[in-house]
């Protein structure tokens, strides 16, 4: 019996090649999208799962309340880790962690600025599992001047030489390599090339490990087996407030497995490809949706074509088949089709994986050996697809009464099937239109982001860390003077460019401040030429100037700060930042010191004391010449042959929106696929209904209907469907897009024009799709079409 079903299924697929193609292509694309999503999710879920103690590991995070605002912080006060470890027996171990880049690293004649450095407590390698090739994980970081490096780092500095015992110089300090570990896998939220003991930070940052006001590190703890993280979270909640009543911060535990996907914290690690559970939900929904469109095509075409199979079904029933036999047969056919689609889908996935990896920044491969979840996942998806798309047709077809079929009456079951088909097509178009609207809104927002006036000029601005002669304040003046001789160099400042090196504090005070109310302000450090180089504007007072020697301790604030301090004319008022008294000399016009996701909040500009970045405004012409000029100067002023680490500010700013850009690209492709599958489905349906109306068209033509008349008859139904789909999708997508744009403090408007444009687009697409069949039918000789009947 199975062989009989298989034969008849394959012969039917072969006989109706166009319909089969539409069905299989739609399902294959849908399944391919789902496979990619499974791989993507599998990769995201694999994050940080390679640690032996993974179930006992937590990161301590906190909710910091300032005024009525709560900030969720990924970092906790410096002394928290040791304190928790001492006070709570459930906590068996702790380590703090922080990473940096752009530091001077050298060994022998090799030096680089691009190593990812990290510091941690010596317990780090006991808690986390990073396999050692050489050295002992328990003792590797015991010596304050020890350093553990990865294979890649060893290769970079020592080629094939034995790395253990070699000296690596970081800044002015020398470290001895005590451990060699395997490269950090990409699915780790902790990334570094080299790690040395945290204690060194008292040297590099003059850090104080007893200070509860400093939140410099991520604190990880290991708890005893079978300890409930929730209960422990409750217990430790008030620890920070206990030791530092000024810091209104409730701490709690974040399970290790949540860090990659479910983190929404400020000051979080960002040197790896962070995941987002929200995007996983959105993308999975869209992938499933695309699969569903494929299924809808199958349902529509199979039921529309049902008369082709009517005799067979009738005859089988006459011979003695039960309804369940027929249902089994047709479900089997749809599952078979789904499996054919699966094979195609796997081929598609193999083909597009490189591009997909490129986009997602992952290193996913489709490897079946031993990957049970993916095999089960594929089988499940294929079966579900087959059953989902096959069950309605199976129920519908198996309900045929042989007596109707065999009496040769061209029965009119059409009406019921046609009704369902109409609804399904409207659903298809509704969601496809929603996707088109989403794509347009997302791209509008990206366009808005690129073109919004940020309050400064981000174009033609390059910056690089101040090193060598740039670093030393005396020689900096000479170097600056020399660089400005080049006509392509318009202005130079030794400052932190907007969006880099910001710092936050509540340790501020001013004349007339309500002592009960805390507000948080951001701090950035600049020099005299900051305003000019970035083309910013003052709102009141003046900017830092060489003419006033006291300016080194004075402050400039932004308009938002003036408003927060409730001052009309703050200029001249006394102001204390971290206890340092100065005068407010000016109010700078608000500018976007960080991404457009965030409101412009109070900002203090103070004169920089330590090293910052050399920011150079260059002529928009001769850019490459200017850069090679600067590179020559870098080589001249910075000893040691470090590569010139320059960046364009507009690139850095564009990076803030990397996620959005990727989401935009993904949604765009999903939309294209969705339109494509919907259209081939519509094409199939149109070719079928046109065939059914052949007689009607023939009669109308004989009675004198014009070509345009006929076209209208054949297309008006589709026009109606698309219009209904538009009306349904508009409010839904308006709501969804508004929600999506909420993450931006500054966002584009969703204009009615977008909706009208999309409606027109959908209509044109639908009409183009059905017009081929319609025109063919309208042009046909009426005699021919009547002979059919």
């Amino acid at each position: 019996m199975f062989k009989n079903y298989l034969k008849i299924a394959l012969r039917n697929i072969w006989r109706h090649k166009v319909y089969s193609f539409i069905n299989i292509a739609g399902l294959a694309i849908g399944i391919a999208c789902c496979i990619l999503m499974i791989l993507y999710i599998q990769d995201d879920l694999s994050f940080d799962q390679f640690h032996e103690n993974k179930n006992e590991l937590y990161r301590v995070v906190g909710d910091l309340q300032i005024g009525d605002q709560i900030s969720r912080l990924a970092r906790t006060p410096n002394p928290l880790g040791p304190t928790l470890n001492k006070e709570y027996p459930e906590i068996v171990n702790f380590t703090r962690f922080q990473g940096f880049d752009h530091w001077h690293v050298e060994s022998g004649d090799k030096h680089f600025l691009n190593d990812l450095l990290a510091v941690a407590d010596p317990t780090f390698f006991e808690i986390f599992t990073f396999p050692f090739l050489k050295g002992n994980p328990k003792t590797a970081l015991m010596d304050p001047l020890s350093i553990v490096i990865t294979e890649n780092m060893a290769k970079k500095y020592f080629s094939d030489d034995e790395p253990i015992g070699k000296v690596i110089k970081i800044g002015y300090k020398e470290f001895h390599v005590t451990g060699l570990i395997k490269n950090i896998p990409p699915n780790s939220h902790i990334q570094f090339d080299a790690m040395f003991p945290l204690s060194n930070m008292s040297y590099y940052w003059s850090d104080n490990f007893e200070n509860w006001e400093r939140l410099m590190y991520y604190t990880y703890i290991q708890v005893q087996k079978n300890t409930s993280g929730k209960d422990l979270s409750e217990k430790i909640r008030g620890v920070v407030k206990k030791y530092n009543p000024k810091l209104n911060c409730n701490i709690y535990l974040q399970p290790l497995k949540d860090i990659h996907l479910r983190s929404n914290y400020q000051m979080d690690l960002d040197n790896y490809g962070k995941g987002s559970i929200t995007y996983i939900y959105i993308f999975s929904l869209i992938a499933l949706w695309i699969l569903l469109i494929g299924c809808i095509n199958f349902i529509n075409l199979t039921t529309a074509q049902s008369s082709e199979r009517a005799t067979e079904i009738g005859m089988r029933k006459v011979i003695g088949a039960h309804r369940t036999d027929i249902i089994k047969q047709f479900l089997g056919e749809s599952i078979l089709l789904a499996f054919i689609a699966l094979v195609l889908a796997i081929a598609c996935v193999e083909l597009i994986l490189p591009a997909f990896n490129n986009l997602s920044g992952k290193e996913i491969t489709l490897d079946f050996s031993g990957n049970v979840p993916i095999i089960m996942g594929l089988l499940a998806i294929t079966l579900v697809t087959g059953i989902l798309s096959g069950s309605y047709p199976a129920l519908y077809l198996s309900s045929f009464q042989p007596v109707n079929v065999l009496r040769g009456i061209s029965t009119r079951w059409k009406s019921r099937g046609a009704y369902i088909r109409k609804i399904l097509v409207i659903i298809q178009f509704t969601v496809t239109i929603m996707l088109i609207i989403s794509t347009i809104v997302i791209y509008n927002q990206l366009h808005y982001i690129r073109n919004r006036d940020l309050g400064f000029d981000k174009e033609n601005l390059i910056y690089f860390p101040a090193r060598g002669a740039f670093y030393d304040l005396d020689s900096y003046e000479i170097v600056k003077h020399e660089l400005l001789q080049n006509p392509n160099i318009l202005s130079i400042t030794n400052s932190f460019p907007p969006s880099i090196g910001l710092d936050e504090t509540i340790d501020i005070n001013w004349e007339g401040k309500n002592p009960k109310e805390d507000i948080m302000m951001r701090v950035t450090r600049v020099d005299y030429d900051y305003l000019k180089t970035f083309n910013m504007k003052m709102s009141q007072g003046r900017f830092f100037s060489k003419e006033f020697s006291t300016d080194l301790s004075n402050y400039v604030i932004n308009e938002a700060a003036a408003r927060a301090m409730e001052m009309e004319t703050p200029v001249g008022k006394r102001f204390w930042l971290r206890g340092n008294e100065g005068t407010i000399i000016g109010v700078i016009k608000n500018y976007h010191y960080s991404s457009l996701h965030n409101e412009i909040e109070p900002l203090i500009l103070k004169f920089r004391e330590e090293e910052a970045f050399i920011c150079i405004r260059i002529n928009s012409e001769n850019v490459s010449e200017t850069i090679s000029f600067l590179k020559r100067k870098w080589d001249e002023y910075v000893e040691g042959g470090y590569p010139f680490p320059y960046e364009f500010l507009d690139d850095t700013i564009a990076d803030f929106y990397k996620t959005e850009q990727k989401v935009g690209i993904v949604i765009k492709y999903f939309t294209i696929l969705s339109v494509f599958i919907s259209c081939i489905g519509l094409f199939g349906l149109a070719s079928f209904t046109t065939q059914q109306k052949t007689k009607e068209i023939g009669i109308r033509k004989i009675l004198g209907a014009s070509m345009s008349n006929i076209l209208l008859i054949l297309t008006k139904e589709y026009i109606k469907w698309v219009l209904i789909a538009n009306i349904i999708s508009w409010p839904i997508s308006f709501y969804l897009m508004n929600r999506l744009l909420q993450v931006y403090a500054y966002r584009t408007n969703i204009g009615i024009f977008t909706f009208i444009l999309v409606a027109a687009l959908a209509l044109i697409i639908a009409l183009l799709t059905v017009s081929y069949q319609a025109i063919k039918a309208a042009l046909a000789n009426p005699v021919e079409s009547l002979r059919y009947e």
Partner: protein, 229 residues
């Protein structure tokens, strides 16, 4: 074998009620060859469908092989049907996607015969009907007469006790029609009960008894050949 009492079938559409069969009382003996005649729309095919249990009567009793089947469920009817009744239709109703062999084999599949049993039986029938050379052809590749012979082969492959034939020669030219009628005659000779709808008085002559139907009533029955058990 067949015994009906006041068998009535009424088709109801939204506006019209059509009485297709009106109080039919009919008895057909095992081994009998009966023909049913009457003008178009008189209810011949409906009667055949009801007797073949592919349609349920609206009211009345229908006794088939000693079982009262008029209230049977679709499943029960299908089970009874597949074991006992073979159908031959005017429009052949062969399945286009199956070869001659596979079409004939189909009833045996639903009866759960093994592959070797099926092969043996189908070959026997094909020999008997004389379509062996067409074994691997598809229905579209053979003539109408051959198609109907395949349909007859399919009807008899499961050795049914009753064959219901609905104008088996209606779509055939006279030569082919004659062939099919001969075939049916041979089946009768071999002991199968035949109940056949026909338009043609000539072909009705093959039968032992002719039932005349008009507007859903049996108007007359004439026995033309002695019926021997």
């Amino acid at each position: 074998m067949i015994n009906t009492k006041n068998l009535t079938k009424i088709y109801t559409t939204e506006e019209v009620e059509t009485t297709a069969l009106n109080n039919i009382n009919l008895e057909i003996q095992q081994g009998e060859y009966a023909a049913i005649m009457g003008p178009s729309g008189c209810g011949k095919s409906t009667l055949l469908n009801v007797l073949g249990m592919i349609d349920n009567p609206t009211s009345g009793e229908y006794n088939f092989l000693g079982e009262e089947v008029s209230k049977y469920s679709e499943r029960q009817r299908a089970n009874l049907r597949k074991a006992n009744i073979g159908f031959v239709f005017q429009s052949f109703n062969l399945i286009d996607e199956l070869t001659v062999f596979e079409n004939i084999e189909l009833p045996l599949l639903y009866l759960g015969y093994s592959a070797s049993q099926r092969k043996k039986r189908v070959h026997e029938v094909m020999e008997q009907i004389g379509i062996m050379p067409r074994k691997n052809h598809f229905p579209q590749q053979i003539s109408g007469g051959e198609q109907q012979r395949v349909a007859v082969a399919r009807a008899i492959v499961a050795k049914p006790k009753l064959i219901l034939a609905d104008e088996p020669t209606g779509n055939l030219d006279s030569a082919h029609g004659e062939e099919v009628m001969k075939l049916i005659g041979e089946l009768h000779e071999a002991g199968t009960t035949i109940f056949m709808v026909t338009h043609s008085p000539d072909y009705a002559e093959y039968s032992q008894r002719i039932v005349h139907l008009f507007d859903g009533h049996i108007v007359s029955e004439n026995i033309q050949k002695e019926f021997k058990i």
